[in-house]
Amino acid sequence: MSFTHLHVSTAFSAHYGVSWPEELAQAAADDGASALACTDRDGLYGTIKHLKACMAAGLDPIVGVDLAVLDDDGDRRTDVAGRVVVLAKGHNNGVGYRALCRLISDAHSRTSGKAGGTVPVAVTRAELASRTLDPQTLKPVLVVLIGPDSDVGRAMGGRRYLRPRTLFKQWLDTMPTGTVVAEIVSQLSAPGSPLSTAHAVRMLRLAEEHRVPAVLTNAVRYCGADGAPTADVLDSARTLKSLPELAGEPLLQPTGQGWLKTSGHMRRLAQEIISAAGYGAADLTQLLAQTEALADACRIDPTSDMGWKQPVVPEASIIGIDQDPAMELVQRCHAGIARRFPGITGTAEQAMLTRLEHELRIIRNLNFSSYFLTVAEVSRMIQDMGVRAAARGSGASSLVNYLIDVSQVNPLQHDLIFERFLSQDRATLPDIDIDVESAERHNVYRKIFERFGAERVTLMSMQNGYRARGAVRDAGLALGMDGDEVGEIAKQLWRFSAGKFREALQEKPELRDFAGRVEQRDTDGNQQLDLLVDLTERLDRLPRHISMHPCGVILGDATLLDRTPVQPSGLGLPMSQFDKHDMDPMGMLKLDVLGVRMQSAMAFAVREIIRIHPSKGDVVAAGHHAPGPEGAGPDYIAANGRIDLNAVPLDDEATFELIRSTHTLGCFQIESPGQRELIGKMAPREFNDLIIDISLFRPGPMKSDMVRPFLEHRHGFAPEVYPHPDLKPVLAETHGVTVFHEQILKTFDVMTHCGLARADEFRRALGNENREPAVEEFFRKAARAEGYAPEVVDKVWGTLKAFGSFGFCKAHGAAFAVPTYQSAWLKTHHPEAFLAGLWEHDPGMYPKRLLVAEARRLGIPILPLDINRSKDEYRVERILSGADSGKLGIRLSLKGIYGLTATELKRIVAGQPFDSLADLRSRSRISKPSIKRLAQLGAFDSLHREAGGTANRADLVQHLQQLQVSGSRKGTDVLEGQLSFPLGDIELRNVKPGLPQPTLVETVRAELDLMAVDVSTHLMDSHRPVLERLGVTTADKLLGLRNGTEVLVAGVRVATQTPPMRGGRRVVFISIDDGTGCIDSVFFHEAQESAGPLLFGTRMLLIRGTTRRTGPRGISLSASMAWDLSRPETLPFPASETPFQDVAHPLDGIARSLAITGFNG
C-alpha cells in the first residue's frame, strides 16, 4: 500500500524547506505514491511548481499551507500559539482552493510587508474557522491538521496531561465539525522530547478520546536524509543564531528524520507508534486508512479547482466596452490607421491591411481581444497621466499594438513578424511590456489599482534565491564564524553560483588566498573553512524571501483574489505569492510595467529644455536643430519649446556622429565598455544599425562568435556568404549572419514552407534536448523534399542549431533602439539638460561621478552647491558672469547630501532664499551637523562673500563646529522668531579668519565623502605628479597611439564587468576614469592571474597593457598587470628614481566604495 505525505515543505518555504518540488514529486512517484501535498509555510509560494511537478510525475497534487495561529489568550496581534497545516479539499470546483487563498491573504493582511515587521504572518482561530466552510453550501472545504507544532503539540512536554487536552478541546469547540484532524508525527527523537514517538502516542490517544480522525505525516523538510544539515543551516539563517547557539537552546530540529520517507518506512513508523501506544493491528490499519482518506478528499484537479492554464482577463465592462471585444478591437485598429499611416494608399495600404487582417484573425481565434483592449487601456491611462511610456519586447512585432498605441514601433518598417509574438499554435497569453518613467512607476501602479479595482489587480512577486555572497554569509553565521572574516571572503565572490564554490576555488585567481587557507586545514586543524564551502554550496539558489517583482502587475477579473493569495509588498500595495513562472499555468494576465530611469531622465531633460528655452525659436537655436519645412524649426518642437521625442525622425546625422565617436556615456544601452567597443567597430549609420548593434550585444551572439564575421562582412573585409540564394532576402540585412529570431523563423519557412507559426514553435524547441531532435528530423526531411542539397541542409541546420536558442528577437532590439537613439539625440543637441537628467535619475551603469567627469570633458561648467541657488534637483542654469558667462552650466542639487534628511531638504527649498545663517536656522530648522556639512561643501560661500566676511570656508566650518559643540544640549534652541533680526550676516561677517584655506584635495575629499562626486576637480588630479613619474598615458592621448603600444594607464574604477565570453573562459572588463576620459581595459586569463586580488578589491588602479584598436574611433587596452594606486610603495617606479614620498589624496580615509567606483568589491 502506498503512503501519501500530507505535510511537506518545499524549498519555497523560505529559510525552512530544503528540496525542490520536482525532487519531491519524483521521489514520491518513484515510491509508488499517487498523490503528494505541498504545504509551504505562510503561503502557496511553491504550489504552482508543485502542481507542475506532480503532473509531470503522474501524481495528484494536494495543496495546503503551514500557518501560524494567533493565541486567543495572548496579545492577538503578536502572540503566536503554534502552527497548523491547512489542506484544501479538492474536486469541488475550486471552493477549497479559494478558501485556502483567502485564508492565507487573511494571515498576511496585518503584516507590514517590510523587513523586520513585528506583526507575524498568522490567522486567528476565528478567521480559520470562518474559512473552513463553503459559504454557499456550508460544507467543509478546508481541513486543519493539529500536529506537533500546534499549541496542543507544544503542550505535550513534561507531565502536563490536562493542558494538551484543554487546548485540543478548544480547537474542537471553535472549529466546525469535520474540519479538524489530529496529525501524528514522530521523527524518532529521544523519548519525551518534541517529535518523539511518545508525543505521537499522546496525540494519537487524544484523537481517539475525542473521536477525531488521526493521520500520519512526517512533517517533511527535505527529500532525503542528506538534506538535514541544510535544514540546520536554514534554521540558523532564519533565527540569525549560530548552530552552537541553537544547539544550546535547544532550537534545532531534534533529529534529522524529517525526510520524505518511503511508504515502507512510514508503515514501520506507524507500527512503532501503534505498538508504543499499546494499540493493535486494526488501529494501525485505521491510522493509515484515515491518512489515505484525507489525501483522497484533498486531491486537487488542477483544471477545475485551480483554473490551470485558463486565461482570465478583466471583464469587458471594466475596460469600458459594451460590445463584442473582437468587434471593438477591429474598430479601434481601423481608427488607428489614419493616425499611424496618414495618406497610405495602393500596394502599401493593401499589404498593411492584409497584415492587420492576419493578426486580427489570430487574436479573434485565440479569444484574446479583451487582452489587447486591456493592455491598450492601461497604455492609454499611462499616457493620460503625462508619463512617458513605450512598449518593448516582442509586443513591438504587432501591427495591432502599433495601431492601438501600445507600441511605438512600426512592425512593417522593420520587418517584424507577428508570429514571434503570438500565433495560433501558442495558447499562452503573450507578454506585452510597457516601459515607463521610473520615477512615476509607483504612481502608475496605484493608478492601475484605482482604475481596475483592488479586487482585480495585484503586483507580481519574485523569488530571491541564495547567491554566492549571501550563501557564504549565512553559512558563516551558522558556523559561528567571525562576521568580518566572512565578510572579507564574501567580498571576493563575484558572479558565480554558490553551487560551484569549490570549483571556483580552483579556478578564480581572486580566490587564491582563500583557497590556500582552505587547503591548510590539515596543518592547523581548522576545518571551518572547508565546512563553509560545503554549506555555501548547499544553500545555492534556495529561496530566501519574495519581493515585489520590478515590473509585473497581474490583472484579472473580480475573482483574482480567489485564485492567488496576496500579501503586502514593501510598497504597501498587495503582491501575489506567485512569481512569473506561475503566471502562465494559472492563466494570469501579467503586464510588465517597468520603470526605466532613462525614460525619467529624458522626460526631465525635455522639461529642463523648456524651462531654459521657453519658445520654439530658443530651442531650435540652442539645439542647432534643422530649420524645418517653413524655416521655423522642425515639427516635433512645439511652439512652447516642448520636444516630442517620439516624433523626432530617426535619421539625424549629428546623432549618429556622436554614437560613432563612442562618447556614448549616459546613452541608453550603448554606454557600457563592451558596447562602446562594439559601436566603435561597427560605426552605425542608421537606425537599423542600432537595432543590430543592440541585438548583437547579447550573451548568445557574443559567446558564439557571431560578431566578428558580421563586422568583417559589414566592412567588406570578407565576402558575404549565403548558404543558398533563397536565404539572401532573409539574411541580407545582417550580411549573411543569423542574428534575429525573425531570421530563424523565416529560414524555417523558406526552406520547409512550414508557416511562420510552426516556425516559431520550432525555434522554441531549439536547444531543448528533448524537443530538438524532432525539429531536426522535420527540417531535414522537409528541406530535402523542397529540393535543397544535403550540404545546404546540413549547413543551415548547423546555423539554426547553434544560434537559434540564443539569437535575439528583432522586435526587442527595435523597441530598445528607440530610447537609445532618443538619448543619443538629446546628448547631441542638448547635452546640459540631458546630463542634468542623468544626474537626477542616475539611469546608467556608472557611478554618478563619471557623468560629472563627462560634463567636465564636454566643457559644461559644474556649478557648486549654493544654499540659495541649489534646489532639490539638478538644474540647468545660464551663467551670467565670469569666464563662462553666457554658457549653460549644471547646478548641483541639495538632494543626496550625506545626512541631510528629506524633511530638511524640503524646508530649505521651501524657504529659499535665505539672507543669513540665522535665517536658515530659524526657517529651515536644519540640524547643526547638516549646516556644517553644507558649509564644508561650500553652500554658504556666496552668502559669506555677500556678507563681506574675510574668513574662509575652513574658518566658517570651524566656527560652526564650535557652535555645535557648545550648543549641543537639547532645549537651548532659540524660540521661534527670536533670531529673525537681520543679524545673521553679522555672524558670517564676524567669523574669525585665521585658518588656511582648505586645500583642493580637502575640498574634493569632502565632496566625495558627502556627495560621492568630485566636483571641484577630478579626484585623480592629486596623483598627477606621481603618474608623470611613472610615465602614465592619459585617456585622451590613447587614441593617437598605434595598435599594440605598451602603456601604463591609471584611474579610478568606474565599471567592472565579467560578460560571458566565447569558449567559456572568464574575461574581466575594468574601466577606469583618469579625468581626461574613460579607459576600458580587458583582463584575459593570464592578466587575471597576475592581478589576483587587485581585480575586484581596489578603487584606484595603475594598469599596464597594450592598446587594441577597436575601430576608427575606438581604442581599448589589453591588460597584463595591475597595481593598487593607493599603495604607492608597490608601484613600479623606474629604478633610478628617488624613493617615493606620498602626498594627500582625496580618497584617503573615505570608506564609501560603491557610490564612487560603482563596485562594491
Partner: protein
C-alpha cells in the same frame, strides 16, 4: 549511569532489530523489545566536510536502548540458575555510514559479580 564508548558486535534480526551482542568477549541476548530513537550530533564540530550527497547520519545518530542478559554457556554449572540475574540496560549506537556499533551508556550501576 556510566558513559562509555566502546566497540561492540551486534547481531540483528532480519528486520534490523538487535538480537544479541558481544561485549568484552561475553555474549549477551536482548531480553526485551528494544527502544530506538535518534540523537543529534554536533556535526559542525565533529565533521570536516558536509558536501551535498553525504547521505544520512550527518545530523543524528541512532540510539538503541536494549535490555540484555548474559548468555549461559552450555558448560556452566547449573547451580547459578536459582539466582536470577537482573537484566542490564544499555544504550547502543550504530554509526550510520560504517554500520559499526558502539556502547554509549550502561544504565545499571556495575556491580561486581562472582562468576
Amino acid at each position: 549511569m556510566g558513559m562509555f564508548s566502546e566497540s561492540v558486535d551486534v547481531a540483528c534480526t532480519p528486520d534490523g532489530l538487535p538480537r544479541s551482542l558481544v561485549w568484552s568477549g561475553r555474549t549477551y541476548d536482548i531480553c526485551a523489545e528494544p527502544l530506538r530513537w535518534y540523537e543529534r550530533r554536533q556535526w559542525w564540530a565533529e565533521e570536516s566536510r558536509v558536501p551535498l550527497g553525504s547521505g544520512p547520519g550527518m545530523v543524528d545518530h541512532e540510539i538503541w536502548r536494549v535490555q540484555v542478559l548474559p548468555r549461559m554457556s552450555p558448560g556452566r554449572p547449573s547451580g547459578m540458575e536459582s539466582q536470577p540475574i537482573e537484566p542490564l540496560t544499555l544504550d547502543l549506537t550504530r554509526h550510520n555510514r560504517s554500520g559499526k556499533w558502539r556502547l554509549l551508556r550502561i544504565h545499571d550501576a556495575l556491580r561486581p559479580r562472582t562468576a
